[in-house]
């Protein structure tokens, strides 16, 4: 087994007095793609939002247990969530480029606002990030256009470029293609396979074919519990749990 970069131990999270995630242990290996699948309301999104401490930004949210990044617990008041989020980037369900910013500024805003001013550096980062997100050729002549002027699929790749620009080691993707058409979806999937050379990817998806196509490992969640976690090929062909089998064959969920 290769190096584990991110790990959760007995992670519990929820809102008010409702546990959405009920004590989950998972390990994510370096430079792999892990898919999290499960029916709506199974805690996938809450779980993934705990990994970069975004969960706590919602009023009434709580969490307990451990999240280990390179063996170091990143939960708790002593750890600055801002520093964690630089190392663990996130792409959301709906493409959400910053409305008032140009394509160029959307990509480099993370660096700019943390004090990088040198325009040669910014230019280079913008180009490499956009290339890494497979968007460079489509936008290189209109970097000053507003980010929101792009199509949905392009916007999502812009959001990926924006996240890559701050060089995270882990990339979280919360249903990144659920708002996109099949062609844009295919592009993002291709990109995920490319990107795992440089980052570790955790992707939440509703789409089981997508999980089967792009992930190395798959975790199946049900009502806040981890039901099964295995190599993707094995989980989809020979699930050990009956609930997993029923879900992947479309008999519930």
């Amino acid at each position: 087994m290769s190096e584990v970069i991110l790990e959760t131990k007995k992670l519990v999270a929820g809102f008010g007095d409702l546990d959405a995630v009920k004590g989950i242990d998972l390990r994510f290996e370096k430079n792999s793609v892990t898919a999290i699948i499960g029916p709506s309301g199974c805690g996938k999104s809450t779980y993934i939002r705990c990994l970069n401490r975004l969960h706590e930004e919602v009023p009434g949210a709580y969490s307990s247990g451990e999240v280990l990044l390179n063996g170091e617990n990143i939960q708790g008041l002593r750890v600055d969530p801002v520093a964690i989020r630089r190392r663990i980037g996130m792409v959301f369900q709906k493409p959400n480029p910053f409305p008032s910013l140009s394509i160029f500024d959307n990509v480099c805003v993370g660096l700019k606002l943390s004090g990088v001013r040198k325009s040669s550096v910014l230019k280079e980062v913008v180009e490499t990030s956009l290339r890494a997100a497979a968007l460079w050729d489509e936008v290189k002549d209109k970097l000053d256009a507003p980010g929101v002027s792009l199509s949905g699929g392009q916007q999502q790749r812009l959001c990926i470029a924006r996240t890559l620009a701050v060089e995270p080691t882990v990339l979280l993707m919360d249903e990144p293609t659920s708002a996109l058409d099949p062609i844009s979806t295919a592009k993002i999937e291709e990109l995920v396979t490319d990107l795992k050379k440089r980052v570790t990817i955790v992707i939440v998806t509703h789409n089981m074919q997508q999980a089967a196509r792009i992930s190395d490992r798959t975790a199946f969640f049900l009502l806040g519990d981890l039901i099964e976690f295995d190599d993707t090929s094995r989980l989809f062909t020979a699930p050990k749990q009956e609930q997993t089998e029923r879900y992947i064959t479309g008999r519930f969920g």
């Binding site: 009023p59 805003v109 606002l113 959001c159």
Partner: protein, 301 residues
């Protein structure tokens, strides 16, 4: 008990007749209500148009080059004007904005981004109360708080009074505008590893800039015509002002001074000043609204 076919037909006919009668009645009532609303709207517009027409008629004869370049002169002397009041109003409004703008936006940011529960409720309620405090009371407050200790009417105290009056408008409209920015934009910023205050100032606030500028301009238009809070703060000055620590003239106060004087000459100038003030406020209002409409049309935040 089973109904026969003829029973049912009779019932049906009666119902039809009833509905037809009700329909007639409803149509008449609807027409009357429509008429009443039309009349009410027209009556509401009458004061606006008659005031504009009146000011235009009375104010135009007093307008000439001297009005914009000269200083107030004794009655009968030629070349009398209000240059000092026009500049004074500009300075007072600028001072007011310098105070009211950062303060108001800060409150708006607190209410929209950080305020939760009871504390935010109290702040919001206080801001709303402040906006309904009569402007003369604000003037009295500044008089006691600044003019009396400094033993001096001053442009500075007038600016503070106007600034306080601008706070509620700016605070509440920036709160509303910030709330229009969807939550996922904030999350996107946070997910980049940016501290919350930077996300708020550089991303969220920047996204609603055009709206906030409009709110500021509307607040300026509102305080530019304020007289009461300036009467015992900025007071008045027949000459060019002598620094911010000294009294300064302003259009509204000058209008007031001239209007209560017994001289026809001064009355004419007061009307001219009223016209200038009204045109300024209308123009600013219209301009801000047009910009805002164009800005909001194309962009979907």
């Amino acid at each position: 008990m089973a109904m026969t076919a003829s029973d049912r037909a009779r019932k049906n006919r009666a119902l039809q007749k009833f509905i037809a009668k009700r329909y007639q009645r409803r149509k008449i009532v609807n027409g009357l209500a429509y008429l009443a609303i039309g009349i009410a709207t027209l009556t509401a517009l009458v004061p606006l148009f008659s005031v504009s027409e009146f000011i235009l008629r009375k104010g135009l004869p007093g307008l000439n080059w001297d009005f914009f370049t000269g200083l107030p002169q004794p009655v009968g002397e030629p070349g009398s004007g209000m240059a000092n009041s026009i500049v004074g109003t500009a300075i007072l409004v600028l001072l007011g904005s310098l105070i009211g703008l950062p303060w108001g936006i800060a409150i708006g940011i607190y209410l929209a981004e950080y305020g939760r529960g009871r504390a935010a409720g109290i702040v919001r309620f206080s801001v709303d109360m402040l906006s309904s405090v009569p402007s003369i009371i604000v003037g009295l407050f500044v008089y006691t708080a600044i003019v009396v200790p400094m033993k001096q009417f001053s442009a500075f105290s007038g600016g503070v009074a106007l600034g306080i009056l601008m706070i509620p408008t700016i605070a509440r409209s920036s709160e509303e505008l910030l709330k229009l920015v969807p939550q996922h934009i904030r999350e996107a910023g946070l997910a980049l590893g940016l501290p919350r205050w930077k996300v708020v100032l550089q991303i969220v606030l920047r996204g609603s800039m055009s709206g906030i500028i409009t709110a500021v301009i509307l607040a300026i238009a509102r305080v530019a015509g304020e007289t009461a809070p300036l009467l015992f703060t900025a007071f008045n000055n027949r000459f060019w002002h002598d620094g911010l620590g000294q009294p300064i003239s302003s259009l509204p106060v000058q209008i007031y001074t001239y209007a209560i004087s017994p001289y026809d000459e001064w009355h004419r100038q007061a009307w001219a000043a009223a016209l200038v003030l009204v045109v300024f406020v209308f123009a600013v209002n219209l301009g801000a609204r047009t910009i805002f409409r164009n800005k909001t049309k194309g962009s979907h935040v």
